[in-house]
């Protein structure tokens, strides 16, 4: 099959970007979207031109490195998959496919289709540690966790931190990501001691990074390759408001560390 890709080219963060069209010819429909980009890049390189910069790593849907807004939807037309697991068979022969980077103030574009998602790392860091005994492996069932809670926590833990939620959100809000990351720990007994501090700090870091505010439209979970539910956002709201009220009234030790 043959397609035309209309790709956003931008030299660096400061440069003005623009679209350029490239022909991708004789593709196998079972190639992944990234493999198609590889083919285009190979030809560009042979022609002595600058290949298209795009982010990728595992290429099996687990690392969250690949991105791209493909025809106006993060990770392309299918649902529940990342760009690396989007295949050319999802497109039609002769299609013009528009490829843009994820756009958000908190995700500055580094080059072409690559944006800097370090603000997610800052949010994770501000979430801090959990108090568990390290050292030798603990007894497997020492802390009982209900099956439903474990499953729900596992759903949240499926987040690969790709940023599609931010990219899809009309407000560039990072609520789905933060709610998944905070939620997975807040649900489990191991996450209880630092629960309040975790939500307060993660939300504060999220606000600081310049993400927008959620308007409860749930474009995020529709775009999420792991289909994380907006239910976790409700949980984050609840946990955050509770933690805020508690932190206002809670007695504080005289010497703060």
């Amino acid at each position: 099959m043959n397609v035309t890709i209309r790709v956003w080219r931008q030299k660096n963060t400061e440069a003005e970007g623009h679209f350029e069209d490239y022909e991708a010819k004789d593709l196998n429909p079972n190639m992944s979207f990234l493999e198609m980009l590889d083919v285009v890049n190979e030809n560009l390189t042979l022609d002595g031109k600058d290949p298209i910069a795009f982010a990728h790593d595992c290429r099996e849907g687990i690392c969250g490195t690949c991105s791209c807004m493909i025809n106006g939807k993060p990770h392309g037309p299918e649902s529940g998959v990342a760009t690396c697991q989007t295949y050319m068979r999802s497109f039609n022969d002769g299609d013009v496919i528009v490829v843009e980077p994820f756009r958000a103030k908190a995700f500055p574009i580094i080059k072409d289709l690559v944006c800097d998602r370090a603000s997610f790392d800052k949010i994770m860091q501000s979430g801090g540690f959990i108090s568990i005994r390290t050292g030798s492996a603990p007894d497997a069932n020492a802390i009982p966790v209900g099956k439903e809670v474990a499953d729900l926590a596992m759903d949240a833990a499926a987040c690969i931190g790709c940023g599609a939620c931010v990219a899809a959100c009309k407000n560039s809000s990072a609520m789905l990501f933060v709610s998944a990351k905070a939620g997975q720990l807040n649900l489990l007994p191991q996450g209880q001691p630092e629960k309040d501090a975790r939500v307060l700090n993660m939300v504060a870091t999220m606000d600081e990074a310049g993400f927008g505010n959620c308007t409860n439209q749930y474009e995020c979970s529709a775009a999420c390759p792991k289909a994380i539910s907006e239910e976790f956002i409700a949980k984050l709201n609840r946990d955050y408001l509770t933690a805020s009220v508690k932190s206002v009234f809670k007695p504080k030790p005289t010497t703060m560390v």
């Binding site: 956003w8 679209f19 807004m69 025809n71 106006g72 939807k73 528009v98 843009e100 756009r103 958000a104 103030k105 908190a106 899809a168 009309k170 407000n171 560039s172 809000s173 609520m175 307060l200 939300v203 504060a204 999220m206 606000d207 310049g210 993400f211 927008g212 505010n213 959620c214 308007t215 409860n216 439209q217 749930y218 474009e219 529709a222 775009a223 539910s229 907006e230 239910e231 956002i233 409700a234 949980k235 984050l236 709201n237 609840r238 946990d239 955050y240 408001l241 805020s244 009220v245 932190s247 206002v248």
Partner: protein, 253 residues
């Protein structure tokens, strides 16, 4: 962080202010609607009700101030959040699909601001009663108390088709606003979950439709001639010789 910083400076706090002020206003508009439906009873009813409200004096002013504060906070947060959201994506996509956001949710700002414009007009029309915006007659209750004739004021207002249409469109937009607003409110304060999100959505739609129909019935039935002017002076007709209202009044005095 103190509580004001949480409520006015954090993303979730600002949203909570939107939700709580929205909820207060929803409570108010339900009460307001029930009050207005008294238009379908004899004029005595709504006129006495209005008289009772005015009789609250400082209490009425306290309620008004509280509602005004609620509205100001709601609109202020709406503006603040919207500006922040615009700033969060300095360069827009060339193409972006809408995946599942409802039409109502994407027009909250528009519906909200048109409702605000309506609200200003509405207050000038019926609360401030600006001369020229309407007719503001007086009458007496059965016990002889002189009161403003709210019944006639409303009927005269709604006999103008343009005013009626404006009211109907505006309550339509308000219902539209609430269609998303109500479910959204539950999500914002964290009370929406997979288990009952579908019920919540349906309940919001049902509430919005009922709220719209009940409101639209008021100007609608005036236009249809079901509710008529009953103040003889304003209606311009002479009292019939034997009239139950006057007889009742005369019997009292």
């Amino acid at each position: 962080m103190n509580i004001f910083q949480v409520l006015f400076q954090t993303s979730i706090g600002k949203k909570a202010v939107m939700a709580v002020t929205g909820l207060i206003m929803v409570g108010f508009i339900i009460g307001h609607l029930v009050g207005n439906l008294q238009l379908f009873a004899p004029p005595e009813k709504i006129n006495a009700y209005a008289h009772f409200l005015e009789g609250l004096g400082p209490g009425l002013w306290a309620i008004r101030a509280f509602l005004l504060l609620t509205l100001v906070l709601h609109v202020w947060m709406a503006i603040k959040l919207t500006l922040e959201n615009k700033a969060a994506r300095p360069q827009d996509y060339v193409s972006q699909q809408t995946l599942r956001a409802t039409y109502a949710s994407r027009t909250m700002r528009l519906s909200g601001f048109i409702v605000l414009a309506f609200l200003i007009y509405h207050l000038l029309h019926f609360t401030v009663r600006v001369e020229g915006f309407g007719t503001y007659p007086h009458t007496t209750l059965i016990d002889g108390t002189p009161v403003r004739d709210v019944h006639t004021m409303m009927v005269v207002g709604f006999q103008n088709i343009w005013i009626s249409l404006f009211y109907i469109i505006s309550v339509g937009l308000l219902s539209w606003h609430l269609n998303h607003g109500l479910v959204s409110m539950f999500q914002t304060v964290g009370f929406r979950s997979r288990t009952w999100s579908s019920f919540l959505t349906k309940a919001s739609v049902l509430f919005s439709i009922l709220y719209f129909l009940a409101n639209a019935a008021i100007p609608g039935s005036v236009l249809a001639g079901v509710v008529k002017i009953q103040n003889p002076e304003v209606a311009g007709y002479v009292c019939p010789a034997k009239c139950a209202v006057c007889e009742a009044k005369n019997a009292k005095t």
